[in-house]
C-alpha cells in the first residue's frame, strides 16, 4: 500500500509543474495542457483522500472534475480557435486588449 504522503507529494509536484507551465508558457495550447495537469493533480489528491478515508465521495468528485474539465476543454478549445482566427496566433501575449 502506498502511503498517503507519497501520493500527496506526487500530487503537489504535478500541481507545481502544471502551475509553472501555466505561468511561464506563452502558447495557449501548452497552457491548456498545464491546466489539465493541475486538474489531474487535484484529482490524484481527491482519490488519495478517498482511499485513505475508505469513502467513495472523493472518487465521485474526481469523476465530476474530469467531466467538467472535459466540458471546459471543449469551450476552451472553441475560445482558442476564435482567438486564433482573430490574431492568427496562439501566443497569449498577443491577446492583451484588456491592458490599461
Amino acid at each position: 500500500m502506498i502511503p498517503l504522503q507519497q501520493t500527496m507529494i506526487l500530487g503537489a509536484v504535478l500541481f507545481g509543474i502544471g502551475m509553472l507551465g501555466f505561468l511561464t508558457r506563452r502558447n495557449l495550447i501548452v497552457i491548456f495542457m498545464s491546466m489539465e495537469l493541475m486538474l489531474n493533480a487535484v484529482n490524484l489528491n481527491l482519490i488519495a483522500f478517498s482511499n485513505y478515508h475508505h469513502s467513495a465521495q472523493g472518487q465521485v468528485f474526481a469523476v465530476f472534475v474530469i467531466t467538467v474539465a472535459a466540458a471546459e476543454a471543449a469551450t476552451g478549445l472553441a475560445i482558442l480557435i476564435a482567438l486564433y482566427r482573430l490574431y492568427r496566433s496562439v501566443n497569449i501575449d498577443d491577446a492583451n486588449t484588456l491592458k490599461w
Binding site: M19, F22, L23, T24, R26, I31, I92, D93, A95, N96, T97, L98, K99, W100
Partner: protein, 701 residues
C-alpha cells in the same frame, strides 16, 4: 356779443400760431409787412370785440342784487379730478372790462408802433409771434374766471416776457436779463402757487365767485388763514409787479426791444399784480395785516425806485425805475383798500407810460441806438412830433391837471390821507401820504430832468449821430399821437366829486371792488367789524361831502409838490446846466449810491447769489467728495472683495478640486499599471496571493 368774448383771447392766439408756424419758413431773415399786418389785425379784432362786449355788458345785463354787472361763460371743463374741477371759464365784469380795454387798446397801438420800430430786424416775424402770444396770455389772465386760469395767464406773460427781454439773445446782456426776469418771477410765483393751494384747501375751489361769496362765512376777519393766503398771493404780486424785494428784474428788462418795454413792462404784465390784488379785494379787505404789508411795500417801492430814477443816465432805465415807482403807487392805493384808485392809476399809467416808452424808443431810433441821455439834448428841433407827444406824457406822469396822471395819482394820495387802518390807526394813512407826496415830487423832478436832457438845452449829440438824426416814420408817430390823446383825456373818467365830476370810474368799478362793503350792508351782516370798516374807508356818500374842502386843499398841495419838482428840475437842467455836476460833487456819496441803484444788485449778488453759489459749491463738494466717495468707496470695496474672493476661488477652491482630481489621477496612474492584460501575470499574482494567504494561514494556525 357777450357770448363771443372767447374770441378776445382767441384772435391773438391765432395770430401767434399763424406767424409762429409760418414765420420761420416764410419770413426768416426778411423784413416783410405780412407778420406785422397779421399781428396788428388780430389785436385790433380783439379790441373791437372787447369794446362791443364791454358796451353790451354795460347795457344789457341788469345789475344783480349787489349792483354788479357780471358775465361768466364756461367754455369747457379743463381739469376734472374727483372733487377738483376747473372749468375754462371766462369772467367779464367791470374790472376785467377795464383790463381788456387797456390790454387790447394800448396793445394795438404798440403793435402798430412795433412795425415801424422793428421793420429792419431780420427776426421781425418772431417778435410779432411773441407779442401776440403775450397778448393772448395777458387776456386769459384778466378774463379767466378762476385763480388757476389767472395763473395760466400769469405764467404765460412771464414766459413771453422772458422771450421778449431776451429777444436779441445773441447779446449776452439781453440773454442774462431774460434769465434774471424769469428766475426772479419764479420766486414770486412760488408764493402765488402756495397761496392758491391754501385757498383751495379752505374753499375746495378756485372759482372767483364761489371764493369771494364764501370768504366772509368761512374765514375770520384778520384771521391767520386769510392773512396767509393774501400774503402768499402778494409774494406773487411783488415778483410780477416788480416790487421790493423782487423789483430788480424790471430795470434789466430794458434790454428787450422798446415796444416790449412799453407793452409788457409798463402797460400790461407788470400790472397783473395790481389786478390780482384788486381781484382778490374781498380777501384783502378781510386781512388788515396784509393790507399794511401791501401798502408798506408799495409805498417803499415807490419812494425807493423813484430815488434811484433821480440819477440814472440811460433814458430807458429812468423810465424803468419810474415804472417800478408807479407800480408801487398803485399797490399803495390797493393797500389803503382803495382798489379802484389803484386800477385807475393802472389805466392812466398804461397810457402815459406806454407813450413815454414809445417816445423813448422813437428817440433811440433817431439816435441810431444810443440810449445815454448825456449824449442827447435839443432833440425837439429834429423830432417835433415825438417831442410834443412826449411832453403830454411827461405832464401826465408829473401830475399836472388836467392830464390823466393827475386824477389817478391824486385819488391814491387822497385815499391814503384819509385812510384809517384798523391796526395802525389814522396816522398810518398820513405817513403813507407823506411818502407818496414825496415820491410825486421826485417823479416830477426826474421826469423834468429826463425831458430837459433829451429835448431841450444844448445839443450834445455827436457829429456822426446828428447826421442820422431824423423824425420817426408814421407807423411810430401815429400810435404816439393816439396814446397822447389818451394820456390827456384818460383821467377824465374819474374826475372826483370835489372837482365837480361824478367819479364815474369809481362807480363803474364799485360793484366789483367794493364787494366787501356791499357784503357788509347785505343780509350777511356777518358784517364783521373789518367789513363794516372797509365800507367806511372806501366810503362813498356819507361824510365825504363835508371833506371836499380838504380834498381840494390836498390837490393843491400835490400840484404844488409836482410844481416844486418841476421847478427844481428846470432850475438844475435848463437854467444852470452846471448845477447837477456841482451837487453831484458836493454830495458824492449819495450821488454814487443813487447812480449805483443803492447797490441793491450788489447786495443781492453778495447776500443771495454768492451765498447760494457758495452753498451750491459746498453741496457740490459734498456731492463730489462725500457722496461720490461713499459710492466709489462701496464700489472699490466690492471690487476689492471680489478680487479677494476670486483669488480664494482660483487658488483654494479650485486648488482643492484640482487636487482631488490630481490625487485620483496620480493614484490611478499607479494603479492602472496593475492591469497588464496578460492572463499569466494575473495568474501569477493569484498564485502568489494564494501562496501568501496559505502561508499566513499555516503560520498563524
Amino acid at each position: 356779443m357777450l357770448n363771443y368774448i372767447w374770441l378776445i383771447p382767441l384772435f391773438p392766439l391765432i395770430g401767434f400760431v399763424v406767424i409762429g408756424v409760418l414765420g420761420r419758413p416764410l419770413f426768416k431773415g426778411k423784413t416783410e409787412l405780412v407778420p406785422a399786418i397779421i399781428g396788428c389785425t388780430t389785436i385790433f379784432l380783439s379790441f373791437v370785440v372787447s369794446v362791443l362786449s364791454v358796451v353790451a355788458l354795460y347795457r344789457y345785463i341788469e345789475p344783480n342784487a349787489v349792483g354788479s354787472r357780471v358775465f361768466t361763460r364756461e367754455l369747457f371743463t379743463w381739469i376734472e379730478m374727483g372733487a377738483f374741477k376747473v372749468p375754462f371759464k371766462l369772467h367779464l365784469d367791470a374790472l376785467s372790462s377795464v383790463m381788456i380795454l387797456v390790454v387790447t387798446g394800448v396793445g394795438f397801438l404798440i403793435h402798430v408802433y412795433s412795425y415801424g420800430y422793428m421793420h429792419k430786424d431780420p427776426s421781425q416775424y418772431r417778435f410779432f409771434a411773441y407779442m401776440n402770444l403775450f397778448t393772448c396770455a395777458m387776456l386769459i389772465l384778466v378774463l379767466g374766471g378762476n385763480f388757476l386760469l389767472m395763473f395760466i395767464g400769469w405764467e404765460g406773460v412771464g414766459l413771453c416776457s422772458y422771450l421778449l427781454i431776451g429777444f436779441w439773445f445773441e447779446k449776452d446782456s439781453a440773454a442774462t436779463a431774460g434769465k434774471k426776469a424769469f428766475v426772479t418771477n419764479r420766486v414770486g410765483d412760488f408764493g402765488f402757487v402756495l397761496g392758491m393751494l391754501l385757498m383751495f384747501s379752505v374753499f375746495g375751489t378756485l372759482d372767483y365767485e364761489t371764493v369771494f361769496a364764501e370768504a366772509p362765512h368761512r374765514l375770520a376777519v384778520g384771521g391767520g388763514i386769510v392773512t396767509a393766503i393774501t400774503m402768499l398771493l402778494f409774494v406773487g404780486a411783488t415778483g410780477k409787479s416788480a416790487q421790493i424785494p423782487l423789483y430788480v428784474w424790471l430795470p434789466d428788462a430794458m434790454e428787450g426791444p422798446t415796444p416790449t418795454s412799453a407793452l409788457i413792462h409798463a402797460a400790461t404784465m407788470v400790472t397783473s399784480g395790481i389786478y390780482m390784488v384788486s381781484r382778490a379785494n374781498v380777501l384783502y379787505s378781510m386781512a388788515p395785516a396784509s393790507l399794511i404789508l401791501v401798502a408798506a411795500v408799495g409805498a417803499g417801492t415807490a419812494f425807493f425806485a423813484g430815488s434811484i430814477g433821480l440819477a440814472q443816465n440811460d433814458i430807458k432805465k429812468v423810465l424803468a425805475y419810474s415804472t417800478v415807482s408807479q407800480l408801487g403807487y398803485m399797490l399803495l392805493g390797493c393797500g389803503v383798500a382803495a382798489y379802484f384808485a389803484g386800477i385807475f392809476h393802472l389805466m392812466t399809467h398804461a397810457f402815459f407810460k406806454a407813450l413815454l416808452f414809445l417816445g423813448a424808443g422813437s428817440v433811440i431810433h433817431g439816435m441810431s441806438g444810443d440810449q445815454d441821455m448825456r449824449n442827447m439834448g435839443g432833440l425837439r428841433k429834429y423830432m417835433p412830433h415825438t417831442c410834443w407827444t412826449f411832453m403830454i406824457a411827461y405832464l401826465a406822469i408829473a401830475g399836472i391837471p388836467p392830464f390823466a396822471g393827475f386824477f389817478s395819482k391824486d385819488e391814491i394820495l387822497w385815499k391814503a390821507f384819509t385812510y384809517n387802518s384798523p391796526i395802525l390807526g389814522p396816522m398810518w394813512g398820513k405817513f403813507l401820504w407823506a411818502i407818496g407826496a414825496a415820491t410825486a415830487a421826485m417823479t416830477a423832478f426826474y421826469m423834468t430832468r429826463l425831458v430837459s436832457l433829451t429835448f431841450f438845452g444844448e445839443s450834445r449829440v455827436s457829429h456822426e449821430a446828428e447826421h442820422h438824426l431824423h423824425e420817426s416814420p408814421g407807423a411810430m408817430i401815429y400810435p404816439l399821437m393816439g396814446l397822447a390823446v389818451l394820456s390827456l383825456i384818460g383821467g377824465w373818467v374819474g374826475i372826483p366829486a370835489a372837482l365837480g365830476g361824478g367819479n364815474h370810474f369809481h362807480h363803474f368799478l364799485a360793484p366789483v371792488l367794493d364787494q366787501a362793503s356791499h357784503g357788509a350792508q347785505g343780509a350777511h351782516a356777518a358784517a364783521t367789524a373789518g367789513l363794516a370798516y372797509a365800507a367806511e374807508v372806501t366810503g362813498h356818500g356819507g361824510g365825504a361831502e363835508s371833506s371836499h374842502g380838504l380834498e381840494l386843499f390836498m390837490m393843491v398841495v400835490s400840484v404844488a409838490l409836482a410844481g416844486i419838482g418841476i421847478g427844481i428840475g428846470y432850475f438844475f437842467y435848463i437854467k444852470n446846466p452846471n448845477m447837477p455836476q456841482l451837487l453831484a460833487y458836493k454830495f458824492q456819496g449819495l450821488h454814487k449810491a443813487l447812480v449805483n441803484k443803492w447797490y441793491v444788485d450788489e447786495i443781492y449778488e453778495f447776500a443771495v447769489i454768492n451765498a447760494t453759489k457758495q452753498f451750491a459749491n459746498l453741496l457740490c463738494w459734498f456731492d463730489a467728495h462725500i457722496i461720490d466717495g461713499i459710492v466709489n468707496g462701496a464700489a472699490y470695496a466690492t471690487k476689492a472683495f471680489s478680487s479677494g474672493s476670486m483669488l480664494f476661488d482660483g487658488t483654494v477652491v479650485d486648488g482643492l478640486v484640482n487636487l482631488t482630481g490630481r490625487i485620483v489621477e496620480v493614484a490611478s496612474g499607479m494603479m492602472r499599471r496593475v492591469q497588464t492584460g496578460y492572463a499569466h501575470s494575473y495568474a501569477l499574482v493569484m498564485a502568489i496571493g494564494t501562496f501568501v494567504l496559505l502561508s499566513i494561514y499555516i503560520l498563524l494556525r
